[in-house]
């Protein structure tokens, strides 16, 4: 799995590419946790490059959400393909995350959250 990154307007975009399954989720978790430990507080996880996510991958998203709970931080997901969205829905998780269609909206949402 590759993990892309972008820094934009004081927010960090993390963009995993490939399958986030029980094998690769460990790598994503280490990456995300390292960024959070290093002080990232406004984070967008762009899932546009993710074709499949397993429950182990969902757990990584939850770990990030727990640590970025407002007012401490902000987490926005974006770029969810149909299969990723379905997995999120099946686990009953869509209500637990702030979700935007694409990266631009996600960054605008982060901006708005921290301004308020």
């Amino acid at each position: 799995m590759e993990i892309g990154e972008e820094k934009a307007d004081g927010a960090l975009v993390i963009a995993p590419v490939g399958r986030v399954d029980s094998v690769s989720s460990g790598e994503l978790e280490r990456h995300v946790v390292a960024r959070l430990d290093a002080g990232a507080r406004r984070v967008v996880i762009d899932m546009a490059g993710v074709e499949y996510i397993s429950s182990a991958g969902l757990r990584v998203l939850l770990v990030a959400a727990k640590r970025l709970k407002p007012p401490v931080g902000a987490l926005v997901l974006c770029g969810l393909g149909p299969s990723v969205r379905t997995v999120l829905e099946l686990a009953g998780f869509t209500s637990l995350f702030t979700i935007e269609p694409a990266r631009a909206q996600a960054l605008a949402r982060i901006e708005a959250t921290s301004a308020s």
Binding site: S22, S25, Y52, S55, A56, L58, R59, V60, L62, V63, A65, K66, S83, E89, L90, A91, G92, F93, S95, L96
Partner: protein, 568 residues
Amino acid sequence: MSTLHLLVQPRDGEPFRHEVQGEAAVLGRSSKADVVLADRYLSRQHARLVLREGSWFLEDLGSRNTTFLNDRPLAQPMPVRPGDVIRLAESRITVTEPGGDMPSPAVGDGLTGGTDERLPESTIFRPASELLAASVAAGESGGLAARMRLINEVHRALAAPITLEALLDLILDRVFVQLQPEEGAVFLRDEKGELKRAAIRRARGITGEPLYSRRLAQEVTEKGVAALVTDASADERFAKAESIVFSGVRSLLAAPLLDSEGCLGMVVLSAKSRLHPFQEDDLELLMALASAAAMRLRNIALAEETARRRLLDRELELARDIQMAMLPKAFPHLGGIDVSAALRPARTVGGDLYDVMADGERVWLLVGDVSGKGVGAALFMAVTKTLFRAIAPGSASVAEAASRMNRELARDNERAMFVTAFAARLDVATGELEYVNAGHNPTYRLEAAGAVAPLPGPVDPALGAVEVHEYRSTRLRLARGDAVLLYTDGVIEARSAAAEAVETLGLAAGEAAEEFHTLRLESYLKSCRGETAERIVQGLLERLDEFVGDAPQYDDVTILALRWLGPR
């Protein structure tokens, strides 16, 4: 004596010498300490050396990791003298005599100097293969006969089962008898490939901690050459380079522990005495011994690895037995219902669970699937099952039970483990079914009249994902003879051997088409009209086996079927 001479070996820095003058010196990580040690595990002001009535005392300054003097924790200030070793966290300080007479203690691995250090010109390197051929060719002729006997003897001894310690002992025993060094040591590569001293032996009367040149070790172990350093002290540079070997060594012999797969370490011998300077013959003998030992060393390492794995396997088997024992095999004789369930873990232990529990006129049902796999998932499964047993019977509704279980599972759940679950309660007297779907696959209703459809209702988050959530339940009335089928996604996501092959070859394939999928499940369930719960479960397992073929089981599979037969 009022000056204290120290050899300081910090964990994260280069060793250095330090002379403590005056009345006291603080040892610590702080830049304000008198002796600053680069060791992140050290307290800022860790310990102190104090001069009292002409003697130096060591005292701990309330450090986090305490201070050790000659490997004993320091309870009160203790006097120190040359030869004592002070340990602070992972750093060492050795108290030495003034001047250079005191041999330098070993730095952790017993090697010293840099890898770019130059070796004395008197050093002779011989390829290991050449030496081995020579010792075979020598046969029983001349003075080598005794040595050949020795090698045979070692080979015989090595044929019997032997521990690593005994093997190292044996090597050193033999070289001491035959080559009379003053000191011998065996270095082995650790799992990171770094050389560590594994055994050392000295002739009587020899003291001090020797250091062998890292450069020499590198030559021997990386190039697979044996080395003979004769009369080293005669070489000008060598005599000055204290770090190559301890001072005064006249002769040094080193051989790699080589087998067909590579180098495992080295054996090194040193002698001061001019009576027995090492010869090239000695190199041949040491090489022969080392290669015999190396073969055995590899076997021992493999055997230890196998033993460790076997132990782990046994632990996992035990965990599996405990886990399987948590699942009910026989179901409450309630009358009015027909229940059957099966769980097949994909690994030794798994994260799926089911339960069936009588509660007066009611029956509770649970099927769940913990995120992730392996031991962590298995432990979370056990907690979930235990909570269900404790919480469900006292709860007014399934929604309340789910909300309470969720609260318990989410508490202090830093790792964000969660369990998708379908929980239900059937009133056996009325056929009323109340259920909660916590992020789980929809349960199917198999109507007595023949229709098959997923149970309607909202999907709430999987249990453990959020601290507080009010779960919603749905109620409906079953008709007499209706059945429900609860399952985990291992059923619908089971993959055929063909799908595995496609994946392995990296070809694109419609994932849905290669999975068992809800369509196959629904079509099977439609064929189950009037079947017993056990037939429904077993029949589905058979269909899965047929579909999956030779492919390895990818995920845990759990199936639970219940038919309501009507009021008792």
